[in-house]
């Protein structure tokens, strides 16, 4: 696949080359008086993949929306590529969001637009020529192996296909950070595996920084224990006892970060909660 694609406004991403892709600094947020996240601090370094685990309703989706500036924290600071987004105005956030791809929990495809217009939405907003949009949409759909669905509407697709279209929409502009919200949620195991394969492919082929939210441990361990082989175009397991060094874990529990570290540390942790969680 062509690597000459220009990401949108690379200069923004490279404005602070030493800054991590994403940094949370003591972030707290609540809704209607109920605290959801309390004093969350962590980092996603460039090229790193963080798997965010936690039970349903703990605030994983909220955390991703905070990272994208879709909601503002009550306190604390959030840095995206070194830019402090918590004090930014909405209109100043838009250029930065062009460098972030987001896959929503329920896909959130525009149901009045075809798959082609959904995937090419951002390109059309940037007034790219139609044939260029067609080419890049076809490329993104090819990446998620859905090339034949261009003219369908989201309502005509299955849940797994919608999720893959959402991934195509997120990656079409070559973002430097991707936020996946429960990409396998509510899908059957076989479809889940194809989605996980796409996530691994994106990680290993494009080395994009990302956060992957999931509440399924088997998905998480599949991501750390597999690599993508470009020659066979399939993912393959890493040798036993080896895990992807660029992938590490975050675990949310009751509004707090219960764990932040590598796969090795997680498996060998003595924390009773983690032991219970992993068993």
């Amino acid at each position: 696949m062509a690597t000459s694609e220009i990401a949108p406004d690379v200069s923004l991403v490279q404005a602070y080359p030493d800054a991590p892709a994403l940094r949370f600094d003591n972030v707290s947020v609540g809704f209607e008086g109920k605290d959801v996240l309390e004093n969350i601090s962590f980092e996603v370094k460039r090229g790193e993949t963080r798997i965010l685990l936690g039970p349903a309703g703990v605030g994983k989706s909220v955390l991703l929306k905070l990272a994208n500036g879709l909601i503002k924290p009550d306190s604390g600071r959030i840095y995206v590529f070194g830019f402090e987004i918590t004090s930014m105005r909405e209109e100043d956030l838009y250029p930065l969001r062009d460098c972030i791809g987001m896959v929503f929990q329920e896909s959130a495809l525009f149901d009045s637009l075809t798959v082609r217009d959904n995937v090419g939405y951002r390109l059309a907003e940037d007034h790219l020529p139609e044939d260029e949009i067609d080419r890049r949409v076809a490329q993104a759909l090819c990446f998620v192996e859905l090339d034949h669905t261009m003219d369908k509407y989201p309502s005509e697709l299955s849940g797994g296909m919608r999720r893959r279209v959402a991934i195509a929409r997120a990656i079409v502009s070559r973002p430097s950070l991707i936020l996946y919200d429960s990409p396998t949620g509510g899908l059957d195991p076989i479809t889940s595996t194809t989605i996980i394969e796409l996530v691994i492919k994106q990680r290993d082929v494009y080395k994009t920084s990302s956060i992957i939210v999931t509440h399924r441990l088997q998905d998480a361990f599949m991501i750390v224990s597999h690599r993508f082989d470009c020659n066979t175009n399939k993912m393959e397991p890493l040798p036993p006892n080896q895990t992807d060094p660029q992938t590490s874990f975050l675990i949310l529990h009751q509004g707090r970060l219960a764990f932040d570290g590598s796969t090795h540390d997680l498996i060998h942790s003595d924390d009773p909660f983690l032991k219970e969680y992993l068993s």
Binding site: N68, Y94, R97, I100, F104, A108, L109, F110, Y121, E125
Partner: protein, 259 residues
């Protein structure tokens, strides 16, 4: 306990008015800022203007007709049926044309906007749009406001014309009046202030319909049930506001023009 609920309700009300004003102001402020969503504007004009044409034509025609029926029977008592045309055209152009048209458009489009935007909110499409770098106020709200204001203006003219025709139809074919007399009195009575009043009102009403529809849509909470609630509220609130604002504008205009 009752005191705190009143307190809460008042706070909620004030906050809603505040958010409504903010939404309207931001959407209007976006009018002259790039990017300008011309294609979305045309689509909305087609949906609101052309789409409402049949109901506006029907209500206009029959309202004019029923006005003629009623006034003619009252006027007959004084032997003054000759001024039927005058009464129909004045009532249509100053009051009923603008108000009935906007009530119809409100029922059709304020609800449509609230449910469309509301579903987009609850399915996270609005968040997705923001995440993809588009301001929904620019892309969704602004075109709806501009389209409704512009189209309300023209729809009202259509309604006024059809109302006068409906009155003519009834007067001439059912009450046996003279056609020239009807049209002459309908035309002669109209003065500049009447026409101005009749054409300023729809601009305000259009603004109310679109901003209320979009406000309830964008503030939808709580799933599909919430969408239903927003839709109902949008129609109720915009209709009541239209009638209230109609009163205020009439009072104001009569104060200025003296009629």
């Amino acid at each position: 306990m009752p005191l705190t609920t009143i307190d809460e309700a008042a706070k909620k009300g004030v906050s809603a008015v505040q958010r409504y004003s903010l939404l309207s102001a931001q959407a209007l402020g976006n009018l002259f800022r790039r990017p300008f969503y011309g294609a979305d504007l045309i689509t909305q004009m087609d949906k609101i203007g052309v789409g409402s044409l049949p109901i506006v034509i029907l209500t206009g025609f029959f309202t004019g007709g029923v006005l003629a029926l009623n006034t003619a029977s009252s006027l007959a008592q004084f032997g003054a049926t000759a001024v039927t045309g005058q009464l129909v055209s004045l009532a249509m152009i100053k009051e009923l044309g603008p108000v009935l048209t906007s009530l119809m458009v409100s029922g059709r489009n304020a609800s449509g906007m609230a449910s469309e935007l509301g579903s987009m909110v609850v399915t996270e499409q609005i968040d997705a749009m923001r995440a993809l770098g588009t301001d929904p106020l620019k892309k969704l709200v602004m075109p709806r406001i501009v389209a409704t204001v512009v189209m309300m203006f023209f729809l009202t003219i259509v309604s006024d014309a059809l109302g006068t025709l409906g009155g003519a139809f009834v007067s001439i074919f059912m009450l046996g009046q003279e056609a020239t007399q009807y049209f002459h009195s309908a035309y002669q009575t109209l003065q500049y202030p009447d026409v101005v009043q009749g054409l300023v009102k729809p601009l305000f009403f259009g603004f109310i319909i679109a901003t209320i529809g979009c406000f309830y849509g964008m503030n939808t909470r709580g799933g599909t049930q919430g969408v239903g609630k927003s839709t109902t509220q949008a129609v109720v609130v915009s209709s009541v506001l239209i009638i209230f604002v109609d009163f205020v504008i009439s009072k104001f205009m009569i104060g200025i023009f003296g009629r």
